[in-house]
Amino acid sequence: MSPESLFALANPLALLGWLALALSPLAPRLADLVAGLVLPLLLSVAYGALILAFWTSAPGGFGSLAEVQALFTDPGIALAGWLHYLAFDLFIGAWETRRARAEAIPHLLLLPCLALTFLFGPIGLLAFTALRATRRATTQTGVAP
């Protein structure tokens, strides 16, 4: 399988996970299983296989920004990097969804955090953390993480 066809397969898979999280009030356990475990693990297997297949022939390294940029000129490694985003962002999204449920955060408030995590991972994490902090500060009924 070529990196291109794997890329074309991985994106809809990740989208499916985000859709499951967005609709999670309908089937919380299923959404958690799919988005919090099955899809991240599936993407992780593909990531691991790409590293095994392309790591030793890729240029660059981790030592400088220029080396990291060179590393991502290799299509196999660039795809691995992309799958890393998809897998970990989705895993974080599923964690946010579980936390929100446990802390009785309204789903409508979670949704923008999920959207931000989907698009710009760390910004979504910041938004969700800010949401939890403000709710805790104002209601004082928060649950420890």
Binding site: A49, L52, A53, F54, T56
Partner: protein
């Protein structure tokens, strides 16, 4: 499970795997196949005409079967043996050597190069030698298990079954050692030069020239072949006859393996092209 069904007439019911460390390790090896199988699907690199990941996959499968088989046979080890400090250290060493072999073979695949027969640099040559020592160490587990089961007076097994299991395990070590040693001392696993590369599916043995991987495979599966023969003898014959039949089967199997060894050394394929 077919094994559970076959062992139904045996006393001492218990879990299928009686050695938790080897069972866990064997399952981990099985799980690790997911990664190498996926790598084989994605990696365009080839080594000697096959995916670079074919060899690591074969070794993962073979060593998982080996380790899980030992975990099953462990139920007939003498009581208390598994609790001893020396035994636990030994099992840890065996697990370490298997991990090292797989890291070496997988590492070579990662770099698209050879593991066995690789003497391209002083480091690789030394590693190859060290891995030979490790291979003997990991195979010695079958010898240790075989002797311990042979000497165990309280297995609860019929004499034919106990004999077949013990002989099978000891046989795996005694037959694998000279065959694998010869295999490693030659420049490659072929005896002769294949013209077309015709090979058996899955196993990959040449159908044109001698291939020493074939007798190695059969020798190493002695620990499965003889217990199956013992099980058949136990089920079909009276006790005295069953024990004699087990010994006869062990002798016949040994002769068969040595014959395949000789045939391969003579440069002939075990299963020639039609």
């Amino acid at each position: 499970m077919t094994f559970a069904a076959l062992s139904e007439p045996l006393p001492r019911p218990g879990p299928l795997f009686a050695e938790p460390r080897l069972a866990a390790f064997g399952l981990l090896l099985t799980l690790s196949l997911v990664l190498t199988l996926a790598a084989a699907a994605l990696d365009p690199r080839q080594f000697q005409g096959d995916s670079v990941w074919l060899k690591p996959i074969k070794f993962q499968v073979a060593l998982a079967i080996y380790v899980l088989s030992l975990a099953v046979f462990a139920r007939w080890l003498p009581a208390g043996m598994q609790e001893s400090r020396g035994y636990r250290l030994y099992i840890a060493v065996v697990i370490f050597t298997i991990l090292a072999e797989l890291a070496w073979i997988g590492g070579a695949a990662l770099f698209g190069t050879a593991s066995h027969y690789n003497v391209s640099s002083p480091l690789m040559e030394r590693l190859y030698g060290l891995m030979g020592v490790f291979a003997v160490t990991l195979t010695s587990a079958s010898l240790v298990f075989g002797i311990a089961i042979w000497r165990n007076a309280a297995t609860g097994l019929s004499p034919a079954l106990q004999t077949s299991i013990a002989l099978g395990l000891v046989g795996t070590f005694l037959l694998t050692l000279p065959i694998a040693g010869t295999l490693a001392s030659l420049p490659g696993h072929f005896v002769g030069t294949p013209a077309t590369g015709a090979a058996l599916p899955v196993l990959g043995w040449s159908r044109e020239v001698g291939d020493l991987r074939a007798p190695h495979f059969l020798a190493t599966h002695t620990m499965h072949a003889l217990p199956l023969a013992g099980l058949a003898a136990h089920a079909l014959l009276p006790a005295g006859g069953a024990r004699t039949a087990t010994w006869a089967a062990a002798a016949a199997w040994t002769a068969f393996v040595l014959l395949t060894f000789a045939v391969s050394l003579a440069g002939l394929p075990l299963i020639p092209l039609p």
